[in-house]
Symmetry: C2
Amino acid sequence: MGQVRRTQEEVLDNITKAQQARRRHMTLKQDIITMSHGAGGKSSHELIEGLIRPILANPVLDSLDDAAVLPLSRFVSLGNGNLPELAFTTDSYTVSPVKFPGGNIGDLAVNGTVNDLAMSGARPIALSLGLILEEGLPVALLREVLESIAAHAKELGISIVTGDTKVVPRGKGDGLYINTAGIGIVERTWPMGQHLIQPGDKVLISGSVGDHGIAVMLRREGLEMESEVQSDTQSLYDLVHHLFVHISSAIHALKDPTRGGVATTLNEMAVSSDVAIKVYEDAVPVKESVRGACEILGLDPLTIANEGKMLVVVAKERAEEALSLMRQHPKGQDARIIGEVQEEPRGMVFLQTVLGGTRVLDMLVGDPLPRIC
Amino acid sequence: MGQVRRTQEEVLDNITKAQQARRRHMTLKQDIITMSHGAGGKSSHELIEGLIRPILANPVLDSLDDAAVLPLSRFVSLGNGNLPELAFTTDSYTVSPVKFPGGNIGDLAVNGTVNDLAMSGARPIALSLGLILEEGLPVALLREVLESIAAHAKELGISIVTGDTKVVPRGKGDGLYINTAGIGIVERTWPMGQHLIQPGDKVLISGSVGDHGIAVMLRREGLEMESEVQSDTQSLYDLVHHLFVHISSAIHALKDPTRGGVATTLNEMAVSSDVAIKVYEDAVPVKESVRGACEILGLDPLTIANEGKMLVVVAKERAEEALSLMRQHPKGQDARIIGEVQEEPRGMVFLQTVLGGTRVLDMLVGDPLPRIC
């Protein structure tokens, strides 16, 4: 049963039903905004599905993927069918502290935006940079962040082509906030998205989980582990491109599990595609230092943000090939197959535990790690 | 002399010299960020030219216009020369208060981004929306702002296609900050930009100046005038399009004089094109209520932000035609010719006063009206 590929129509019909069901259940209960509305988990979804999306409703925004895909032919009539599709994405960064082991808010912004484009199958071509500076910010810190942005953009061969700078009074910001938006050219030629995963598909992760969130948390709280935890912030475009060249249309979905971690991302996929996802707990790579910090802090590594890892959902028969391709690449050396897609129970993610039992793996609830990106 | 159109090479040579000269003189003197670095005037230029631009340097960013122009043919090889140019722009909005007579932060963001695209000769096709919410923000206020964004976008026939929401703790924000980035398709087919104005050109403004800044200021300070001052926030795309249809290549530059007002915008043009601009003081339209408020507050209407007006620099022989075209349009009813471009003194703007004298009209210095957009 799981092997039978549903027709595109069946898939779309199921998606519509699943989306409608989800939206019926999403209402924003609170009257004021709380920190957990920004954590990427359940409350964030309530805010987005219960307020923002219904008000701004349009078909592109409704697709829920990392970047919007805009077929240029819809906007330009040039008498030929050769116009590319654009990908367009935005992210604001409010991470505290601004500098942390392995990176700072600047490279986080560049990598994060590039990754959103890469996850939608696009090659990044240009970034914008919006700075909100707090009065009193040391210029030396701003310089360091800008140099980091410039260095990362250069390495990726893209430019910051447009920008804006605002200053807010002391006590109305926190050093600096950054917004980056990005434009890419869609390179994939097959349908791909979190709403298109299929029973039977395998779920791969490109490396260890939880590094970024724990690195920021430990620095912010002034805690030290025996071995320092480094953020995994990095661009994933080259890894995606490497996969695309070799297995292309067998890839059904790509997603970087940032805020809310792997647990939240897989839940979004399960709901969007109206399927179940089983995760093999002992297959998920977690560094010893991260596991130790999670135990001390009472956190689940599967709900912690990553900034340089990706989940790849791929057709079962190409899963081993995808795995070895990822392992060939420096950014996928620790890749693993961590789960599979099933028919039932629809819209759910569950963990097959080390001891052989199963438990439901929910989205992140609350905000155990505020302001990690 | 002023009538002789310089060759493109001469113009570009002059621009390079002027830009180099300007950059040599721009260094960031302060060690910390102050409110005036965000005011759009001299300090903002020092921050941008003395720090941000040198670090992020690239040819597109260096063009200094409202939006970056990206020829798609540079990024896609499709074997034909029919690819359009994209315009790309970003702006953050930190206006205080969030609601003011005539608008709120939401329509300000949509109109502002659409106007940046329109000023570069582009038709807006898609917007992004990045929200930075402060913990404790009333959901009712957020709803009102979002509804305003949706209504304005709908009126303009464009969609918010991608978004991001972050929440910062109480005391690290101020209600809400918005970033919008926008993509447009360049419609003009001739060179246009603030570096391309020519001695002999005429300078037109589409309507009264200072409305937005004064409306926000009066509301923030709880001051009331006999007749309420309304912000002029509005989209200018339709007005630009109307002009383009009729006089096209006679338009040498378009710019909406936002932060820093008409004075700052004209100074940027004078430096970029290495020319002088004379402004006829008595020709500048200023509403009575705005003039009154400026007198009380000791402000110059020419340095106050506008959010729904544009400066048009047009070849002398088409200036009267441009003026009547603008006056035909509801958004240009109060248009006037307010000045002219001269050879000397290069890089300067000066005012021909009502009493017949002249005085230098400098860029905005300091930050008399913080957080107006």
